[in-house]
Symmetry: C2
Subunit: 321 residues, 2 copies
């Protein structure tokens, strides 16, 4: 048996590959089979992470296991889908038992947290990269898309912004920080928690939703374009963590929140009448702006003054790989 077949057998025996609701046939055949309940649709998303591009190389394989699955499942949360399963295409330059064991531990832990079953994949030799495809189920017609925002909607996010971007100099070893600050920021980078419950709660309530991966302003641009509306972001309402402000100062923290990316919190628009009920449920919702008629994304100060051209990091506004 070759080493890559050993790996396949190893993943097939992993806790996250056993059973699972909605999985009619798991790892080991030409295809997996997913059962989709009557009246529901299957949500599908694919993400690739390349060593040296999307994560430092080398890095802690346990943390990579967590992060690689979390960023993929976040797309299911953004659609209001219930996570069901995923496939893993793992390309490795060499097979190291320690690396695999640690990676699988991180993957298993995140899979358990998200309620997803590993149903298949591929293991190949090559430069380190990972492609995960995730599957969720959502009642037909109830998926949250980017295209439904309407003028008058509130612009909301599901949590603090900028922490992962703030963590980047720590991840890359370019800076150090006091332990409490570093731990807090690094946890956001390595172990983002897909906002699955929030996504489910927003079904039938949010008019548009996505998860923030490219950065707040860039992702607001995606909703504005898909919904053919204008979006106004109020700078002074951005939820910033104490750790981020302590590490970068207020201007740097604001920049990270606006343009940093990798937040994996939900960005969504709500009719104002829908807000109180969600708040009463204790949902983590921060109103950070509003939807208007028109097009494009504008950043305003607390007086409603347009400050878009003056923000730090504006050159990062556009999506880059």
């Amino acid at each position: 048996m070759g080493e890559f077949e050993l790996i396949r057998n190893y993943f097939a025996a992993a806790p996250c590959a056993q059973g699972g609701e909605g999985v009619a046939l798991g790892i080991g055949d030409d295809c997996a089979l997913l059962a989709v309940p009557v009246g529901e649709q299957l949500a599908v998303s694919t993400d690739t992470l390349v060593a040296g591009v999307h994560f430092p190389d080398p890095c802690d394989p346990f943390l990579l296991g967590q992060r690689s699955l979390a960023v993929a499942v976040s797309d299911l949360a953004a659609m209001g889908a219930t996570p069901v399963a995923f496939t893993l295409a793992l390309t490795l330059p060499t097979v190291t038992a320690d690396w695999l064991l640690a990676y699988a531990r991180g993957l298993n832990q995140m899979a358990q947290a998200c309620g997803v079953t590993l149903v298949g994949g591929d293991t190949t030799r090559g430069p380190l990269s990972l492609t995960l495809t995730v599957f969720g189920r959502v009642p037909a017609g109830q998926a949250l898309t980017r295209g439904g925002a309407q003028p008058g909607d509130l612009l909301c996010v599901g949590g603090e912004l900028g922490n992962a971007a703030g963590a980047l100099p720590l991840v890359l070893g370019q800076r150090i920080a006091e332990t409490a600050v570093a731990d807090s920021l690094l946890a956001h980078y390595w172990s983002p928690r897909p906002q699955i419950d929030l996504g489910l709660a927003l079904r039938g309530k949010a008019r548009a939703a996505m998860d923030i991966s490219d950065g707040l302003l860039a992702d607001c641009g995606h909703i504005a374009q898909a919904s053919a509306v204008a979006i106004e972001v109020e700078r002074d309402r951005l939820p910033l963590s104490k750790a981020l402000v302590a590490f970068l100062g207020m201007p740097g923290a604001t920049d990270a929140a606006l343009s940093g990316g990798d937040d994996y919190v939900l960005l969504f628009t709500l009719p104002p009448a829908g807000l109180p009920a969600l708040q009463a449920e204790g949902r983590p919702i921060h109103v950070i702006g509003r939807v208007a008629a028109g097009e494009g994304v504008t950043l305003v100060d607390r007086h409603g003054q347009d400050i878009t051209p003056h923000i730090r990091g504006y050159q990062h506004f556009r999506e880059t790989p």
Copy 2:
């Protein structure tokens, strides 16, 4: 707009990304949405191709576009599933318009031939590799698995064996052949035709099925193990193309057919009573052996003599990446 966003937009506008039965929402949101008819299940498979490992680098991007999708869809055919959709995770070291255009042309052509819609993916910078995840639908309980073979079944394949393996020295530029031979073999390597119709015809008839990717003997081993049976392959019944025999001679052609891999024809077991009806339909079916009680794979000559240890290429029997 960054170059990788341009690529995403380019693929979103490609013919193979437009509409498609069973696709409720295509490219452009956090997830695609697939509709699965009542009573059916979704078959899912993921394949990764790495430059320099699974295809020569450089190679013709048009041919790579065809091949990358065909090898993935072949897994749907092997389950008896009707192909519906796929995602493409494309990792590229640099963005070259000519390369992309040619790759997309090949992809489009194979997508049309297979009836699949591109519903999402990811485009990233890194060493050239491709991960395709394919989706098909199959009535619940009717998928063809590897686990149902029974003693007494006929062992069958859906077409000639060894052509793709025979083509490899041509693909790698290590040998040359006369044009007719080279064209025939190279077509099998670069443009395998997933046996979708055969897979559909085998529903409810074949007891076990898979597609041959690792090589006939290795893949017979997978069925034998999954079904807990023994499999006997008769060397002199292997369907070999004239081109392959002309290029490699009979011993080399036999070796390629037994151990070569990359055939992407279906391998399946049938109760003998099921054969005439399928042959009457004109299905491409070659009986090459039989299923017996026991375990493992045996190669026999026309007299039933066990010649397993003597075959050329036996060291390749085991799956290697």
